[in-house]
Structures are given as C-alpha cells and as structure tokens.
C-alpha cells in the first residue's frame, strides 16, 4: 500500500509536532545556507577591498622608496620608518658586486626573504606589480610587490589578514543568533499552520463524538469552510455521510415503529377474540375445544415472541433509553423474587449490601431477574435460591483496584449447562442443549439474549457458571456496577422528579413516529 512506503519524518510524534518540527528544520536549513553564503561573500568582499587599498598604498610607497634606495646614508630603519604603511615593508635590490638581490627589511619574519618565490620572480624578472595571498605558519598573509622604477629591484609589503578573520568571527555570533531566531520563527509558523490544519480535524472529531452519543443532528458548520477549496469538499462529504446515516436510522426506526404497530393491533384483536372463544369453550364441540387450546397457547407464545422481537429490535436500533433510579438493591431483589415466583425462593444477601442504594434501571434489573427465574422454572424445576453478592472485577492491568459490583445469582438444581453452551445460550434463538426441540411452553429463546442486552445497557453483564458447591445445577449471574447514589447532581434525573421540560426532552425515540 502506498501509505506504508510514504516518507514520514518524526513518525511516532503527533501530527502537530511533526508539522512543527518539519517547519523548524526547513527554517534551519534555509537560514544556515543563507548565513554560510553571507559569510563567504563578506569575507571575499573584505579581502578584495583590502587588496585594493594595499595595492594603491604600495605603489605610492614604491615611488618614495625608489628615490631613496641606494643612497649610502639611508638605512632600512629610517627608509621604512618614513613610509605610511600598515604592513611590513621590505625591499630587494640587485647588487652587481655579489650578483644577487639584497634584502632590506625590519621584520625579518615577514620580510623579503620569506616572500613566496612566485611573487618575487614576477616582480623582479617580469617587472610586473603583483598581489599574492598565501599562508605561512597557519597565518593568512597578503603580499604586494611593485618593481622599483630605474633600478633592478622591487618594493614589497606583507599584510596580515587576521583582523579580517577576527571581524568575520565577530559576525558569527549575530549570524548564528539569526539562525536560531529564524528556526524558532519557522517552528512557530509550523505550530500555527498545523493549528489551522488540525482545526477541521478537531471539529470533525467533536462532531463524530456527538453523533456517537446519539445527537444525530450534529453537523460541521459548512459556512465556516465554504470558501476553502481544500476543506469545503471534505466538510460537505462528511456532512453528507452523517445525513445519509441519520436518514437510514430514521427509516429503520420508522419501519420498526410501523412493524410494531402493525403487529400489535391484530394481536390485540386475536387476544380479545380468543378470550371470547375461551369464555364459550364449554359450548364448543370437543374437536373445536382442542383447536382453541392450541390456538390459545400458541397465541400466548407468539405474543411474547413479538414483544421480545420488538424489544430486541429497539436495542439494535439504539432506540432504548435507560431510566436510572435509586435502587435499594437487596430490598428490590427480595421484593422482585417474592412477587415473581409462585413458590417462595430464599434470597440470601451479603449483609454488607443491606441498605446499599445504587443507581440502575430497576425495570431492566427486574426483567433480567424475571427471565432467570423463568428460565430456571422451565429447564431446572425452579430456582433453589437467589444470592446477592458483593464483588470486585479484576483489572487486567496490574495494581489498579477493580470496579465494585454486585452479583445477583439465580441458583438452580437442574442438569446444568455444559461448558460449550455457556456463551451460546445468550445468543438469540438458542435454547442450549434443547435447541430445536420445541416442547410446550418452552419460550422462544430470546429471553436470555434480551437479558444480556438489558445488563449491557447499564454497564453490567450476564453469564452462567456451574454451582460453586459442585452440585448439579447452574448459577445465572447478573453483575451490575456499583454506582452509588449521591446527591442528585446536574444531569441526573429521578423518575419522581421528572418535570414537564424533561419529558419534552425525552423524544419518543423508542418507536419513532407511529400514528
């Protein structure tokens, strides 16, 4: 894939940091290049200027020297002392007696004898004024030579150039400061530019969060980006996608609502009519009575199936709403078990939990419990006891203390659920080992799937396990997080405090807009 081979500098850092670093690096490279070029140009310029100045002065000095050279009363000291020079002057004059050039100089180290041969040859033999830059003992020197008119000799000056390098090195600090400042400005520009680049991304992320939380009418403000040719299409297509999604969800909800209405209405008629027939059952012939019984029991089952299907489709459509309330957990379980079960079932609660009030959806809690009890009654000759226990979920990552939970456990003494089936029985239309065999009044296999949804919706879970005492039977467990009821805070609404405004906020999302 193209994306994998793409060059990504500073991979691992955030997008914004990467953009900033790239801008900073760019600014650094450009300013270094500029500073380097500037330094080289300045140096060359300074040297050229110096050469010119020196050359002019040397030709003047050579004229002065030409007049005085050769006079016996003039020694090198006085000769050179009268000259206006910043360099080290020296003279080479042809001596016919010895047949060689005699050097006159004050500073022997930078005097005529140390001059490069190429320079002396050009001046003395070829009789040409010359300038030469050379290095001696690590020092850059500028030597200028002029032939002395009327004599076989030449006047030379050696100039030290260290001052030029000194001024250049003085320039270094401000130049590198400029590099640093430019780099900083570049990075700041990158930071600013990345902010502009990332703003639409931040907006998109915000809107996506809103949508995920169910506010499907959230959109990016197109008008803000409309005049940006790069971003406008992205914003438009994002909004388009969300609208399309919303339309689809609305369509699904409307369909579910229509289906719901279309199914509920005839079922109401069926139920009432079958009841009328039942009331007159004794007047019917025996065969008709049998048919009526079949009709009656299957109608009950079908009604339950429709209720469950409608409920589970509301879960699928995301159209369910929690009704969080203060729930005295032990008390509620006791009361529910007492009310739901025709035969008394003991409820054993952890004494620590007595009086604990948690926030949860009581109706859903009771639905799950009812389903477990119902399940036990159908498959295991009824529940043997109900336990309310305190637990702490284990955290995968180390020392962090787990979440406090309560477990409501419905115990039975039935055949139990084999290991392989324990997860599957919470799937839709799966009835454990008996899947497929459709005995009388055995439900339709949506109950446990619904129980799982009811639990999941409020942050809990359901599962089945073997009895801890090793006896035959199962533990059906509902685990709910302990969210302790505190003083009502903002956003928390208790059912007995539902106000008219709050009701207006609760859009009938459950079944859309049936009419």
């Amino acid at each position: 894939m193209a994306g994998q081979s793409r060059f990504r500098p500073f991979a691992g850092a955030g997008l914004r940091a990467r953009i900033t670093m790239t801008f900073g690096m760019g600014a650094l490279l450009v300013s270094l290049l500029l500073v380097g070029t500037t330094a080289v140009l300045i140096r060359r310029n300074l040297l050229d200027q110096r050469e010119q100045v020196v050359a002019e002065r040397v030709s003047v000095n050579a004229g002065l020297v030409a007049d005085k050279i050769g006079r016996p009363e003039v020694d090198a000291q006085t000769l050179f002392g009268s000259l206006a020079t910043a360099g080290k002057p020296s003279v080479l004059v042809w001596d016919t007696d010895s047949g060689e050039y005699l050097p006159f100089s004050v500073d022997t180290r930078l005097g005529a004898t140390s001059l490069p041969k190429a320079l002396t040859r050009r001046v003395l033999r070829e009789r040409r004024s010359s300038v030469m830059r050379y290095e001696q003992r690590g020092e850059v020197l500028l030597a200028v030579g002029v032939p002395i008119s009327g004599q076989d000799g030449g006047y030379f000056e050696v100039n030290q150039l260290a001052d030029i390098d000194r001024s250049l090195s003085n320039l270094t600090i401000p130049l590198f400061a400029a590099v640093a400042i430019t780099t900083g400005i570049g990075a700041a520009l990158g930071w600013y530019a990345s902010k502009r680049v990332l703003r639409p991304l931040a907006d998109i992320s915000e809107v996506a969060t809103d949508i995920a939380e169910g506010r499907l009418d959230a959109r990016l403000a197109y008008s803000e980006w409309a005049d940006d040719p790069d971003l406008a299409p992205i914003v438009a297509s994002f909004n388009g996608m969300v609208s399309e999604m919303q339309a689809r969800i609305d369509r699904d909800a409307r369909f579910a609502s229509d289906v719901s209405h279309e199914l509920r209405s005839p079922l109401t008629t069926f139920n009432a009519s079958v009841e009328v027939l039942r009331n007159a059952r004794d007047d019917l012939p025996e065969r008709a009575q049998l048919a009526l019984d079949l009709l009656g029991s299957d109608l009950e089952r079908f009604t339950q199936l429709v209720e469950d299907l409608l409920e589970i489709s509301r879960f699928d459509a995301g159209a369910v709403r929690l009704e969080i309330d203060d729930v005295a957990i032990v008390e509620t379980v006791r009361m529910a078990v007492h009310t739901l079960s025709p035969t008394p079932i003991p409820v054993e609660a952890d004494p620590e939990l007595e009086g604990l009030i948690i926030l949860c959806d009581k109706r859903r809690l009771v639905r799950v419990l009812a389903n477990f009890l119902d399940n036990a009654a159908k498959y295991a000759d009824g529940a043997t006891r109900v336990l309310v226990e305190h637990a702490t979920t284990a955290h995968d990552d180390g020392d962090e203390p787990g979440e406090r939970t309560v477990r409501i456990i419905v115990e039975d003494a039935g055949p139990g659920v084999v290991e392989a089936e324990r997860e599957k029985i919470f799937d839709r239309f799966n009835r454990g080992g008996q899947g497929g065999s459709r005995g009388r009044d055995l439900g339709v296999g949506l109950g446990l799937a619904l129980a799982a949804e009811h639990a999941r919706l409020q942050g809990g879970s359901v599962w089945v396990e073997g009895r801890s005492d090793g006896a035959s039977g199962s533990w059906f467990v509902l685990e709910l997080p302990v969210v302790e009821a505190s003083e009502p805070s903002e956003g928390e609404v208790f059912l007995d405090e539902v106000t008219a405004e709050h009701m207006a906020l609760q859009i009938p999302a459950e079944e859309g807009t049936a009419s």
Binding site: E331, M335, E497
Partner: protein
C-alpha cells in the same frame, strides 16, 4: 343497571373484539371511534370506566382524557401501542388512572377495570379523621381539605393518600402502593406511582417542588409526614 364502559378505539376489529370480551364479563360497552364522538358520548351518558386509545384520528387520546378529567373523576385507562416513557407518562399526566400496552390480555384489562371500580372513596367505618399540619383527611366523608378548603382529588389520588396516611411516617415502596392502590398483582410499573404522587403533590402541597407532606425516601419509596 350494570357497569357501563366507554371504549374509545379507532380500529374497528380491536374495538369489536374488546367489546365482546368485556361483555362476557357482564358489562355494558359503549363505543366511540374518535375523540369528538367520545366526548359527545361521554356528555350524553357518563360511563363508569373509560378506555381510551392514545392514537386517535382528530383529537388524540391525551386530549380526550384531559377533557373528561375536567368534568369528572371517572376511572380512565389509557391504551397505548408504545411502552416508552413519553407516552405512558404523558397519558398519566393527562389524568389517566392506569394504562395498558397493546397487545394486552383481556383478563388483564378486566382485572384493571375491576380494581378501578373497587377504588371508591368508601373506607372502613370508624376510620378517624387525620391531620397533617394544614392538611386534613376526613375518610368517612371522602373529603380532604387544606387550610379548610376542599381539595378535588380523583379516586386514585384519594386512595393513594389514604394508604400513605394509614401508617404515617412509614415508607411505602412503589410496589406496595401499586399492589394496594392499583391492585397490580405483579411487579408493576413504578412510573404509575411516580406520576400520581406528583399529581397528588400539586394538590396537597403548598410548594409541590419542596414537598412537606408526601416526601420521597430515596431508593425506597414514599411516606406521608406531618
């Protein structure tokens, strides 16, 4: 003359089937197909119980309920095809005493009707009058007064208050109240109690937002105090 039930339902098949089932219980059923004719029928001959489907053409079930409630404290049962909070609470707010979700078992409907018919203002003879601050309950006469003025409570509100007053200071869970007032023999819908408590408060409390008599015990239920 027997018990008369006014059934307001626009679906002819449901209406007929329900009528047949209710007639089997020995009740007389009068039918109305929409809101206007329901109100007209009610004005002609008041019934003992009114059954209203929420989704009606024209005037909806909520409005029919409100209009009848304005004239009378007759027991009203709302029938809805939607079990969500909005419809249920709105129906109860409009003045309904109870509600049923389609598809309902006719046995359930007749049980609810019977419970409503039993819910009268009569109390055991000899129940003394009770005072809770400015609130006075005279059970024998079915009268509740606040600072000497008569309060118009529906039968359900009256029964709810009497139940709470039977043991002042004791906390009644929603389930206990559902069983005692509504006669629901199963784990019923707490919203029924919550909405009626709220309606009761608007009548018996000086400041319904900060109730002094009918107070909530968080996580447990309600109690009546001085």
């Amino acid at each position: 003359m027997g018990t008369r039930i006014l059934s307001v339902e626009d679906d002819e098949r449901i209406r007929t089937a329900v009528k047949l089932a209710l007639e089997d219980e020995g009740w007389t059923v009068e039918e109305a197909t929409d809101g206007e004719s329901a109100i007209a029928a009610w004005s002609r001959t008041p019934a003992d119980v009114v059954l209203i489907d929420i989704m009606l053409p024209g005037i909806d079930g909520f409005e029919v309920c409100r209009q009848i409630r304005r004239q009378s404290d007759v027991p009203i049962i709302m029938v809805t095809a939607r079990a969500d909070t909005h419809d249920v609470v709105a129906g109860l707010e409009a003045g309904a005493d109870d509600y049923l979700t389609k598809p309902f078992a006719p046995k359930e409907l007749s049980a609810r009707i019977r419970a409503l018919l039993r819910r009268t203002r009569s109390v055991e003879p000899g129940t003394p009058r009770m005072t809770f601050g400015d609130l006075e309950i005279i059970p024998q006469e079915g009268v509740v007064t606040m600072s000497g003025t008569d309060l118009h409570l529906t039968k359900t509100e009256f029964r709810l208050l009497i139940e709470l007053a039977s043991s002042p200071g004791r906390v009644f869970s929603r389930e206990a109240l559902l069983e005692r007032v509504w006669g629901h023999g199963y784990f019923g819908d707490g919203r029924l109690v919550d909405v009626h408590i709220r309606r009761l408060r608007t009548k018996v409390e000086q400041d319904p937002a900060n109730p002094r008599h009918v107070v909530t015990v968080r996580g447990l239920g309600y109690k009546l105090q001085q």
